[in-house]
């Protein structure tokens, strides 16, 4: 692969990751959000793939395939089933409305660029330049968790955070050691499964899908 093609494909794939994050903030329909998440998972895998190909790193390519399978297919599918079972699968009234959320996303992206200056300075490569995108994705994910009322939206937010971090990890270090990377992914996967199970229990036992109804425990 030529240098410029490598660079531009990496840029495009990373860009998609961030755009998908913004899309989750923009759309209200939960199914659309889950779809955006799936696209993001695939894009993340593609980033790993490009890096793996670029560095001729077989392990990384394998990881990329795993990522595509897990984050692009399995997890969205899991979430999709919850969404399908929910009669009102819309984020009807997020705590912060959509235009303001988008403005917030923009501000967070700026912040990500500002905060990662030192990291970018350390890695003067194409991949290094793209690290802020990962940071921005993470921050947007965090933001989504804080402003979205539906359980599924919050899970998606968590996955956005995770994807953002994974993007940073891939871009900055071409992945931390495999054992750690696998452990991390497995843990996140488990966390999502747990959340999913909890969401299902809350729905089935107490009819709760809107997290704002869960305010029994307070001071």
């Amino acid at each position: 692969m030529s240098g410029s093609a490598y660079a531009s494909s990496l840029e495009i794939a990373s860009g998609v990751v961030l755009v998908c994050a913004v899309v989750t903030l923009w759309r209200r329909s939960l199914s659309a959000i889950v779809k955006a998440l799936a696209v993001q998972g695939v894009a993340l895998g593609v980033v790993a793939l490009i890096l793996g190909v670029g560095k001729h790193d077989g392990v990384l390519i394998a990881v990329a395939c795993l990522v595509i399978a897990a984050k692009g297919v399995v997890i969205p599918a899991l979430l999709g089933r919850v969404v399908a079972g929910d009669p009102a699968s819309r984020e009807a009234a997020p705590i912060v409305n959509v235009p303001a959320s988008l403005v917030g996303a923009g501000a967070l992206t700026f912040l990500a660029y500002g905060a990662t200056g030192s990291v970018v300075a350390l890695i003067p490569t194409t991949a290094g330049r793209l690290i802020p995108l990962g940071f921005a994705t993470m921050l947007i994910g965090y933001f989504a968790m804080a402003v979205r009322r539906k359980a599924v939206s919050q899970i998606v937010g968590l996955l956005l955070v995770d994807n953002g971090i994974a993007l940073v990890a891939f871009l900055a270090t071409a992945g931390v050691p495999l054992l750690v990377e696998l452990g991390a992914s497995l843990d996140v996967l488990l966390a999502v499964v747990v959340l999913r199970v909890l969401a299902a229990q809350m729905w089935s036992k107490f009819g709760v899908l809107d997290l704002d109804e869960m305010r029994e425990l307070h001071d």
Binding site: A115, T116, G117, S118, V119, A121, L122, I123, M138, Y142, M145, A151, Q154, L158, V161, D162, I165, V168, A169, A172, T173, V176, P177, L179, V180, G183, A184, D187, V188, L190, A191, V194, L195, L198, A199, Q201, M202, K205, F206, V208, L211, M214, E216, L217, D219
Partner: protein, 486 residues
């Protein structure tokens, strides 16, 4: 070898209890395995206190004085918690709220939880440690939700949602530390080992390390329960079964704090003391203020204990901020003392919940008159937690304040003392309502079975002994402090 035993024994017991329907004997077996952990921890400590660290699996497991100390902490509180679990499960099954199958799941999860914590403190690699800490989150989520009530589900949701994000930040921080270490030109695999990170800490890129350390404080700080990332803590600790609360509050928080201590030592090398100190002081003071404010009008005794944990984590953060050998030694003693006292209190609160059927402070009255043993233990537990001698928390708090003042953090120490005084007043007032007074006329005095009181009294006596007798723990504390102190 001992290190492997420490991990393998409770894990094996966990597997065993997962496949066999729960019986009392299984419960006692689990307690015994944690007892073995405690004994092995003491053995490990004896070996590493004056000798070099022990490693296993090619450095994947590494035991220095600090790790050995943490193993002792986990073992000691683990014994208390698993001992009480037996009674908890029997009562739950007897009351029809749980089945033997369900109970065996609980038992296995607790064993897994303890194993994960042990792995976290024994791991020689920051990545493995992260995985272990995250594993504790996932396991304990099930334990928090074990009772399957609306409240417990809500608590587990909040717990896992908030902690997952937090721990993700910690992962990002770890990645950045790795990046910085790579850049120093270190070998790829060793770059996440404590020893190699400590060795190169002075050469790590300060810009990246600042970002990394900030993320690590936020991330692990969430698990530690430092304000304002503490908000999951009162919910989870109050909803979990009492033995689990005891483990979470007594040990899990400090295991996460252990991670922070390790990373702080690296950050000190890379950044100098000022930045890590500023972050930890800010987090510590905020925790103290938040804990003090929310304890004032607290209405639920389990939540009261939970906020008390926030306070103590704030104190630990301040102590770590000082960072001198004295400060760290005091921090470690505080970890053990707090673990014991908080463990005992949560277990007692479980017993109170069982007998009184409520967690509302206002509904529990005259415990000392009606249930002298239980009330006495709860009262003395509070005394221990409020930092009065002879309990060890007094000594550790005093020495933390001393260390903080020595490094110019006297003002922070003063604020912490003021917050502690407010907390003292608040807790005293809540305790007064729960413990003092006379019960309804004609109510007989309830005896609490010795099987319940023995470990609790043992825990308190241990906590008191730690605060009086210096030998032999003193040398271990000093050795452990040397590992991460300035």
């Amino acid at each position: 070898m001992l290190a492997i035993v420490v991990l393998a024994v409770p894990f094996a017991a966990g597997i065993a209890s997962a496949v066999v329907p729960w019986r009392r004997e299984i419960g006692w077996l689990c307690t015994a395995t944690i007892g073995i952990v405690l004994v092995c921890g003491i053995g490990l400590a004896a070996r590493v206190v004056h000798g070099p660290p022990i490693t296993a699996f090619g450095g994947a497991l590494r035991v220095d004085a600090l790790s050995a100390f943490m193993v002792i902490v986990i073992g000691a509180i683990g014994v208390l918690a698993t001992w009480q679990s037996v009674r908890y499960l029997s009562l739950e099954i007897a009351a029809g709220r749980s089945s033997r199958r369900h109970a065996s799941l609980y038992s296995a999860l607790v064993q897994g939880f303890v194993t994960a914590m042990l792995l976290a403190v024994l791991a020689g690699n920051v990545g493995v440690m992260w995985v272990a800490v995250e594993a504790t989150t996932i396991i304990t989520t099930f334990l928090v939700g074990y009772r399957q009530t609306r409240g417990s589900l809500e608590a587990s949701w909040k717990y896992i949602a908030i902690c997952s994000v937090g721990i993700a930040m910690a992962f990002l921080g770890t990645v950045l530390v790795y990046l910085a270490a790579l850049h120093v030109g270190h070998h790829l695999h060793a770059s996440l080992d404590w020893t190699s990170l400590m060795a190169v800490s002075h050469h790590l890129d300060p810009g990246v390390m600042r970002l990394a350390f900030a993320l690590l404080v936020l991330g692990y700080g969430t698990k530690v329960g430092l304000a304002p990332m503490h908000s999951w803590l009162p919910d989870a600790h109050s909803q979990a079964p009492a033995p689990v609360s005891a483990l979470m509050s007594g040990v899990l928080l400090t295991v996460a704090f252990y991670a922070l201590l390790r990373f702080k030592a690296i950050a000190d090398g890379a950044l100098g003391v000022a930045f890590p100190r500023a972050l930890l002081v800010a987090a510590g003071l905020l925790s103290l203020v938040v804990a003090a404010s929310l304890l004032l009008t607290q209405r639920d005794y389990k939540r009261m204990l939970a906020y008390h944990s926030v306070e103590h984590m704030g104190l630990l953060a301040l102590g770590a901020a000082a960072g001198t050998p004295l400060a760290i030694a005091a921090v470690l003693l505080h970890i053990l003392g707090h673990g014991l006292a908080k463990g005992v209190l949560f277990l007692t609160s479980g017993e109170i919940l069982h007998t009184e059927g409520t967690t509302e402070i206002a509904q529990v009255k005259a415990l000392l008159a009606r249930r002298p043993a239980l009330g006495g233990i709860f009262g003395f537990g509070l005394v221990a937690l409020l930092g009065l001698p002879p309990f060890s928390l007094f000594v550790s708090e005093l020495n933390m304040v001393r260390a903080e003042t020595q490094v110019g953090l006297g003002w922070a120490a003063a604020i912490s003392l003021a917050c502690m005084a407010v907390i003292f007043g608040a807790v005293m007032s809540h305790g007064r309502h729960m413990l003092f007074g006379s019960g309804p006329d004609g109510e007989r005095v309830h005896k609490t079975p010795a099987i319940v009181t023995v470990p609790l009294i043992g825990g308190l006596v241990g906590c008191a002994a730690l605060g009086v007798v210096a030998w032999p723990l003193d040398s271990l504390l000093r050795a452990a402090a040397q590992v991460v102190a300035l």
